[in-house]
């Protein structure tokens, strides 16, 4: 397994390099270093001299990928791409284009993002599994049919609608929680209750349908019939046997997202005023702060790779037949 892990981690390096290269190429297609300087210096009274100075100060006065004026390996290393990318592999993201420490920002914003994403993930998973089990239990009845219809309806509605409707109904009409905002400590519960509820409901439709399908597939298998033949109750069959065996496909979809929970949610954080990494990323995109955008995409890719490795590892935990080689 160790060899497998090392191999996977080594594979991650070219993947990360590729992602970084792609972000670079895409970013500089729409935004030149001059544009970035203008975005930072403001639209009024900006001279070319100030732009050149900004580029030099921030290391954007070099060629993007290949330096014709340099000699030897410097032709590749003395470029924006290498100068800005190399340190990221050591998880040192340097300073934003505005001159602020990105690592400091990441650390500060990670917690509000987690405070929202983790409960949404855990509660959402729990509710979806329970609901799917119930539907599987009542399969073929009116409860199952209406449950599936409800799932399709829930899936068909945009998450933005849930947010706006949730804020209007729960916070504005019923006055139960604040519409938006954030406080640390225990007070955060008041602010997170609504976004968590909205997050859970928004994800419920697709998850319940998917898990229901997995459970139904398992229910039709021979070992379930054997369990029933042993005289086990339907509840015991479902919770002790079906759920365990249905965990592999569920894990595939869930473990992979766990590391990404740190990254936060772009829309939810923006609407609920949660100062996490999602709103941080949106703000950076709007301000054309390439250093932050690049760092966030890099972290996103890294966490995704980590999630995939974790998924593989989790297989071995839930299914003893799986061996990583």
């Amino acid at each position: 397994m160790i060899a497998y892990l090392i191999r996977r981690l080594l594979w991650a390096l070219p993947t990360l390099l590729g992602v970084n290269l792609l972000v670079f190429a895409l970013f500089f297609v729409v935004s030149s270093p001059d544009d970035m300087a203008r975005a930072q210096l403001g639209a009024k009274r900006v001279t070319q001299e100030a732009i050149e100075r900004w580029k030099a100060d921030h290391g954007y006065d070099k060629p993007l990928f290949y330096n014709d004026n340099a000699q030897g390996s410097k032709q590749f290393t003395d470029t924006i791409f290498v100068q800005k990318s190399a340190r990221m592999f050591l998880l040192d993201f340097g300073k934003s284009d505005l001159g602020r420490d990105i690592n400091h920002e990441l650390y500060a914003r990670m917690w509000p993002s987690l405070a929202l994403a983790l409960p949404v993930f855990i509660v959402g998973l729990f509710v979806a599994i329970v609901a799917a089990m119930v539907l599987a239990f009542f399969r073929g009845t009116w409860l199952d049919y209406s449950g599936v219809i409800a799932c399709v309806v829930l899936m068909s509605i945009s998450s933005l609608f849930y947010i706006i409707a949730g804020q209007f109904i729960v916070a504005r009409t019923w006055n139960l929680v604040p519409i938006s905002g954030y406080e640390g400590g225990l007070d955060s519960i008041r602010f997170l209750a609504l976004p968590v509820l909205v997050g859970v409901i928004a994800g419920l439709g697709s998850n319940v349908r998917w898990y229901r399908a997995i459970f139904l597939e398992e229910i039709g298998k021979d070992y379930v019939r054997t369990a029933r033949a042993k005289g086990l109750s339907e509840g015991a069959v479902l919770f002790r046997h079906v759920l365990k065996n249905a965990m592999i496909p569920i894990l595939t979809g869930t473990v992979v997202v766990i590391p990404s929970l740190f990254l936060g949610s772009l829309i939810s954080e923006s609407f609920f005023g949660i100062p996490g990494l999602g709103s941080f990323t949106i703000e950076a995109i709007l301000m054309q702060d390439f250093a932050i955008v690049r760092a966030m995409v890099f972290i996103g890719a890294l966490l995704y790779i980590l999630g995939l490795i974790l998924t593989d590892l989790s297989y071995t935990l839930v299914d003893p037949r799986v061996r990583l080689q």
Binding site: V30, S31, S32, D35, R38, Q40, L41, G42, A43, K44, R45, V46, T47, Q48, A50, R53, D57, L98, G99, R100, D101, H104, R109, V134, F137, F138, L143, I164, Q167, F168, V170, A171, R172, T173, W174, N175, L176, V177, P178, I179, S180, G181, Y182, E183, D187, R190, F191, E234, G235, S270, F271, F272, G273, P275, S279, F280, I282, E283, L286, M287
Partner: protein, 734 residues
């Protein structure tokens, strides 16, 4: 049994919820309970302020903070219109004298060309003190308390309030000199750099700093003791006198002394923030400003909240007792003579989206809504209505006691022609071609119906532009005398666009009868170069309007960066632009047509690239005139040239509006006045009472949800049991 237990649990929870509801508490307040009775104004900010450093900050989102924290030598009177400067940190308005090339005094009315130097002698108020700040804290021996800090000594400090000691000292003229010298620091990239180069010796200071940085004598990221660097144009003869020498004559310079660029800066602050470990913790001047203003920053959590609290050291300043006509009737003079600021602080909460902000405003959790802050209003139609050409409140708003205040902004948004264009600009090779183009522009100016555009796109909030000067700025003329006679006539007491027939006649005279070139028969096709935030409906309106005179308008949408580049290269044909004044002087609008400010040629702000020697001559003459002189005749001449040549085809001045709750007083929707927070007053008891009344928690939904869950669970259990027993019975029967 289980069903019964579930029922009991649900009943218990429901009773608990109802009991909670019995408490007279507000559940949805976004503010901590201990701030409930504080006189904090509640505001939003929807983008992260980039800079609080006075020499770097230039955009409006930052001005709300910087103008409340830093004070300047001069400031605008809160109520008088047109805007009027008054002393701020200065004890009086400056005494300006002029010198010739030989350094000999010149009379006040000397021609601008003879003036080699303008000398501003500014007396300062005595006894003004900086806000309490750790940078100014000194120990018993008089040494700076926080000198020699490093990463380890700083520990877990991330907010300025994490330092236990603070100090203050009196403001002296040297602090202004230090602040102005900071503009020259290359690292700070001040947007005012070019302007301050008019100060004598400023170029030399920049060169000296750059040389020292290059030679390693000065650390660009560290503290550079600017006291050691001479600046010939800024003198401090005594602690309460500041003397500034400018090259030549530039009367508008005084407006720049009303901006934070020239705010005083204690050297101790720069030294404090330059210590190792500070920047890493975001303990910088850019995050934690220091000033003498009415408020000081005590909490800065970007993308969450920013709190400004009353500066206990703020000098004595009182609410004005005179204002514009009608201010007394509007209650704007009721607080005459009261000491400022009248509130304890301003709490800004990050609110990126308009919908939650609007809902929170209706709940009473924000004190006002300003149209200048959110471009789109979430519920315009339910809040406001247009009646008889004016804006009024809906009944729902009136019921909440919300007040509406409107004001035409001193800003313009306009459709313009790139005058370098050979077809419709001034780029034709022959005088005849240029004259044809002028007539096409005049025809288009008639066809552009801004009233229609505003009513469809902006709920009628604005007035069509009649000339280069917007309302509220000296030189703006109202009534018939102020209309653009080339595109409008005066009918029934208001401007009315000339007829489409007149536009068609002009087009025919230009050689395009029925929109076709008289020589080639080709249709007149004009490209409208706009960037991608322009909405489809906006384009459709102007395309339809041009179609009325048989001009084919072809929109060329591009993204913002490319669009800006297009203007820098002078490659656009017909386009759109807007201008918010830096300062309320006509010069700041007329310079948009001065050829030496051409965007394409000099990277200036003249996006039309208008080049008329007659206008230039008048502008140069005008620029040398004192702001207090009678400038109207020359302004009229310049305005007439711009109207006749029509580089700007049509545009409008936005009507800003503000909705404020009944507990807020003295507020106004004026974009230009960023110092306004100190003039506001709040009735917190009323705010608390009304917001409690509006936000009583409705508990029945919770009870209903709990009951539904319990009912579903009970049903499920029952069904499960039946399912289990049914299987058994069926097998037994077989």
């Amino acid at each position: 049994m289980i069903t019964k237990k579930l029922g009991c649990l649900a009943a218990l929870l429901a009773s608990a919820v109802l009991m909670l509801g019995g408490c007279d508490a507000v559940w949805n307040s976004p503010y901590p309970a201990d701030e409930r009775d504080k006189l904090f104004l509640h505001e939003e900010f929807n983008s992260r302020p980039k800079h609080f450093d006075p020499v770097q900050s230039y955009v409006e989102d930052e001005a709300w903070f910087t103008y409340s924290i830093y004070e300047t030598l001069f400031e605008f009177h809160y109520l008088k219109r047109p805007f009027e400067l008054q002393p701020g940190l200065a004890a009086a308005m400056p005494k300006v004298s002029y010198l010739d090339k030989q350094g000999q005094p010149l009379p006040a009315d000397a021609p601008a060309a003879q003036i080699a130097q303008s000398v501003y002698e500014i007396p300062l108020k005595a006894g003004v003190r900086f806000q309490p700040h750790p940078a100014l804290a000194r120990d018993g021996a008089g040494r700076l308390r926080y000198e020699g800090l490093d990463d380890a000594k700083l520990g877990g400090r991330t907010q300025i309030t994490d330092f236990e000691f603070t100090g203050t000292r009196e403001l002296v003229s040297e602090d202004f000199a230090y602040g102005i010298k900071r503009i020259a620091r290359p690292k700070l990239e001040s947007p005012s750099l070019e302007l301050f180069k008019q100060i004598l010796g400023f170029d030399e200071l920049i060169a000296q700093l750059e040389a020292d940085v290059k030679a390693g004598k000065a650390d660009p990221d560290g503290w550079i003791d600017l006291r050691k660097y001479p600046l010939a144009g800024v003198e401090t003869p005594d602690p309460h006198t500041l003397r500034i020498r400018l090259k030549g004559k530039y009367p508008q310079f005084i407006y720049w002394l009303a901006m934070p660029f020239s705010a005083p800066m204690p050297w101790e602050a720069e030294k404090f923030y330059a210590q190792p470990g500070m920047a890493k913790r975001e303990l910088t001047l850019d995050m934690w400003p220091i000033g003498t203003g009415p408020f000081m920053l005590t909490r800065n959590r970007p993308l969450r909240e920013i709190l400004m609290e009353r500066n206990p050291n703020f000098r004595e300043q009182t609410y004005p007792c005179e204002g514009a006509p009608g201010d007394k009737e509007r209650g704007l003079l009721d607080d005459c003579g009261k000491r400022l600021p009248m509130i304890d602080g301003v709490k800004f909460v990050y609110e990126k989206e308009a919908t939650p902000f609007w809902n929170k405003f209706l709940q009473g959790y924000y004190d006002f809504y300003a149209s200048t802050r959110f471009k789109t209003m979430a519920s315009f139609d339910t809040a406001l209505q247009m009646q008889g050409g004016g804006l009024s409140l809906s009944d729902a708003m009136k019921k909440q006691g919300i007040a509406l205040k409107t004001e035409i902004e001193p800003a313009t948004e306009y459709f313009f022609v790139n005058m370098l264009d050979p077809l419709i600009g001034d780029g034709g090779v022959t005088p005849k071609a240029r004259e044809r183009a002028r007539k096409v522009r005049q025809a288009m100016a008639i066809a552009f119906d801004m009233e229609e555009y505003l009513s469809i796109m902006k709920n009628g909030l604005g007035i069509p532009m009649q000339g280069p000067i917007p309302p509220g700025i000296a030189g703006y003329k109202t009534g018939e005398a102020g209309i653009n006679p080339y595109a409008f006539t005066w009918k029934n007491g208001r401007p009315k666009l000339r007829s489409i027939d007149e536009a068609k006649r002009l087009l025919a005279e230009a050689g395009y009868p029925n929109g076709r070139d008289v020589d080639t028969g080709e249709p007149l096709v004009i490209n409208l170069d706009v960037y991608d935030v322009f909405k489809r409906e906006q384009l459709e309106i102007v395309i339809k309007q041009m179609k009325r005179i048989d001009i084919q308008l072809v929109p060329r949408l591009t993204e913002w960066n490319r669009w800006q580049e297009m203007h820098r290269k002078g490659a656009a044909q017909l386009s759109f632009w807007g201008w918010n004044a830096d300062y309320p002087d006509p010069e700041n609008f007329l310079f948009l047509f001065y050829s030496k400010n051409s965007k394409a040629k000099f990277q200036g702000e003249n996006v039309t690239n208008y080049n008329n020697p007659e206008f230039d001559k008048l502008f140069e003459q005008f620029r040398g005139m004192d702001v207090t002189a009678d400038r109207q005749p020359i302004i009229d001449k310049m305005a007439d040239l711009v109207r006749r040549d029509a580089p700007v085809l049509a545009g409008w001045h936005n009507e800003a509006f503000e909705l404020s709750h009944s507990w807020l007083r003295n507020s106004m929707p004026v974009r230009m006045l960023h110092t306004n927070r100190k003039y506001l007053s709040l009735d917190v008891a009323k705010r608390n009472a009304l917001s409690a009344q509006w936000n009583r928690p409705q508990l029945w939904p919770l009870v209903l949800v709990l009951a539904a869950i319990a009912a579903l669970a009970a049903l499920g259990v029952r069904h499960y049991r039946r399912h289990e027993t049914q299987t058994a019975r069926s097998e037994a029967a077989q």
